[in-house]
């Protein structure tokens, strides 16, 4: 257990020393940040607020992740939606509805659709690791915030990569915390911007409590989806059968 935390800590030390001497590798910074946010495994409880100009809805979701590839989400409140779940293995996604007791695989054509009515798309969940494999990265600047160096990284898709964005920009603090991720279309216009705030100690490491996704093409500037981490545990041993279609149909604890 200690060892696991040690590894990112070691990388941290490595980077904080090299940051001053030489330009660090952009891809390594992103990889480190993604590892930092997800750990080997994680269990979390998230409050999701979908906000619209005339309307707002809050639900509570429990999420389990394993590496960058596998995850399972279940809605625990409101009551109406309790038991609805999403399972993601690699790049495949399934959704389960307890009312009709059916599992439906989400087809590729629906991957860019909104996930549970939020500003996040199915792709945002299922292709979270695509930025590591399908993009080339470049550090375009550094700033300082709260005594940390913040790297501003511009990521452009590789020529043949199957991605929907024309560009992504990221702001990553040197300790691995993602501060902002912006998604641009082919015309380099910002489509969605996600930022994080409220960095607090969670399970022994600083972690941003609030994640806000805003769609730039929405009619109203007020439209956003807010994720608030209420409970987060890293590197919990998870059974293999948790990431199966059978597990999706049962309420996990």
């Amino acid at each position: 257990m200690k060892k696991l935390i040690l590894i990112p800590g070691l990388i941290l030390v490595l980077f904080s020393t090299t940051a001053f001497s030489a330009q660090p590798d952009a891809k390594a910074i992103i990889a480190q940040a993604w590892d930092y946010m997800r750990g080997r495994t994680s269990v979390s409880e998230v409050r999701m607020t979908v906000h619209r100009a005339d309307w707002e809805r809050t639900s509570v979701i429990k999420a389990w992740t394993r590496g960058l590839e596998d995850s399972i989400f279940q809605i625990i409140s409101p009551k109406k939606d309790k038991g609805n779940g999403t399972l993601k293995i690699g790049r495949d996604m399934w959704t389960y509805n307890p009312k009709i007791n059916r599992v439906v695989k989400i087809p590729p054509s629906m991957m860019s659709q909104s996930w549970m009515g939020s500003d996040f798309s199915n792709n945002d969940l299922s292709k979270a690791d695509t930025i590591l494999n399908d993009y080339t990265h470049e550090i375009v600047g550094t700033t300082r915030s709260d005594g940390f160096t913040v790297y501003e990284i511009r990521s452009l898709p590789k020529p043949e990569a199957p991605v929907v964005w024309g560009m992504q920009t990221l702001k990553i603090r040197e300790d691995g915390i993602l501060l902002e991720q912006a998604f641009y279309d082919e015309d380099m216009k910002a489509v969605k911007i996600m930022d994080t705030s409220g960095i607090v100690e969670m399970d022994g490491r600083p972690f941003p409590e609030k994640w806000t996704m805003r769609s730039m093409d929405a009619d109203s500037k007020e439209d956003y989806t807010l994720l608030e981490y209420r409970n987060l545990k890293f590197d919990v041993p998870l059974a293999d059968h948790l990431f199966t279609l059978n597990a999706l149909k049962k309420t996990q604890r």
């Binding site: 619209r52 609805n84 509805n97 009709i100």
Partner: protein
């Protein structure tokens, strides 16, 4: 004096005069008939689209026709229905609600557009009922029953009696899910519609998508296309009473708008404009041909009478009087031709308006898609008069050429001419 001379000159060569009059009349007739047929065809096209999709008029929440967001609802459709019951020229109206959803059969999953319809009232408006290929249309007693487009059924690999799972977002943002039994498969002939559309009874839709009594569209049909704008105006006036009287709470104005079919399907009006553009080129060619043949007649009439005109000049007729005489001659011909043409054109068009023009081999195919196999030309004041008006302008212009040319004649030369 000139009028009498012109009249006599016109009838000096009756055969040529009659032929010229007939040419003009024929041009008018063709123009009237073709334009009326075109307008009649557009009416058929519009009606087909109106009957499968939009209706003549829809009352919707402002912006719904662009965004199609599930929250943009008409929350009290019954009050609008009451207004519609009292509006003249309205033949039928119904409510619809739509949502995009994930549709899944045992084998396949794809995205589709679920529409909640009122089975009884829908059948008075939509011709989906008449394009059922398999099974039957929805009945008022149905609950979780669906009819879907043939291409969608093919994509999902389902048949009548199979189950389709629908998963979407309800109006309150919760997860909407239902299992539907396929009762029928339709084929409207519009591929993009048949590829995505699935219809279920409105009450079941409202239950699954937590819509309560709200709907997305109040669909209205009128007795004729030509009354649409009038109905729309009176409906809009009823929806937004001008003096905002006593604030009666939530009824009446809820940010609702009234849109007619051309605003709902801009693509249709564009394709009509394109077709009309092509038609105009044809008419232009026809007009140019008519113009040349009439010009030929007039020019010949002046040439062969050069000596006579010279004599007239010699005995004291001014060139102005000669021009006047020639213009009057052409005016006689033109007016006779146009009058005859309008009469014949109207009679012919009117006849076909009653019997209809059968479309031959295409008839059966069109009938499948709920389009009548007959095209009825539509005679209106515009189609009856715009063609002849153009013919009049063109012939008058061409007749001016010889009439002006005659001013340059000198009596001596003219009398010597052969």
């Amino acid at each position: 004096m000139e009028i009498l001379m012109a009249w006599r000159n016109v009838w000096r060569n009756p055969r040529r005069t009659i032929l010229t009059i007939l040419a003009i009349a024929f041009a008018c007739l063709v123009l009237i008939f073709m334009l009326s047929v075109q307008v009649g065809t557009y009416e058929v096209m519009i009606n087909a689209s109106v009957k499968t999709r939009t209706g003549h008029i829809q009352v919707i929440k402002k912006g719904y026709n662009k965004d199609h967001k599930i929250r943009q609802v008409v929350s009290d459709p019954e009050s609008i229905a009451k207004i519609l019951d009292q509006t003249p020229h309205v033949t039928a109206h119904t409510f619809r609600a739509n949502a995009f959803a994930l549709l899944s059969s045992d084998l396949r999953t794809c995205a589709g557009l679920i529409t909640g319809v009122d089975p009884e009232r829908e059948s008075k408006i939509s011709n989906i009922v008449h394009t059922m290929r398999k099974g039957r249309f929805l009945k008022p007693s149905d609950t979780n029953t669906a009819v879907l487009g043939a291409l969608l059924a093919k994509n999902l690999k389902v048949n009548v009696g199979d189950e389709v799972v629908a998963l979407g977002s309800a109006m309150d943002g919760s997860v909407a899910a239902t299992v539907l039994k396929v009762a029928g498969i339709f084929s409207s002939g519009m591929d993009d519609y048949d590829r995505s559309a699935i219809q279920i009874p409105l009450p079941h839709f409202q239950e699954v998508f937590y819509m309560e009594n709200a709907v997305h569209e109040v669909v209205v049909t009128c007795d004729s296309l030509w009354h649409v704008s009038r109905v729309k105006e009176s409906l809009a006036a009823a929806l937004h009473p001008k003096p905002p009287a006593e604030p009666t709470g939530q009824d009446a104005d809820q940010g609702l708008v009234c849109l007619s079919w051309d605003e709902l399907t801009p693509g249709l009006i564009q394709s009509i404009q394109m077709d009309l553009g092509g038609g105009l080129i044809f008419y232009a060619i026809l007009l140019v041909m008519v113009a040349f043949s009439i010009m030929n007649t007039f020019v010949m009439a002046v040439f062969e009478r050069t000596r006579e005109l010279g004599t007239l000049l010699a005995i004291g007729a001014g060139p102005g009087r000669l021009s006047k005489m020639l213009v009057l001659e052409s005016a006689f011909l033109t007016l006779w031709g146009i009058t005859l043409g309008i009469l014949a054109g109207c009679v012919l068009t009117f006849w076909f308006q009653h019997t209809g023009i059968p479309l031959g081999g295409a008839e059966g195919m069109l009938k499948q898609y709920g389009i009548p196999g007959l095209i009825r030309p539509r005679l209106t004041l515009a189609t009856a008069l715009s063609g002849p008006a153009l013919v009049f302008i063109i012939t008058t212009l061409t007749a001016l050429y010889p009439a002006l040319k005659v001013r340059r004649l000198t009596p001596v030369d003219a009398m010597r001419a052969v």
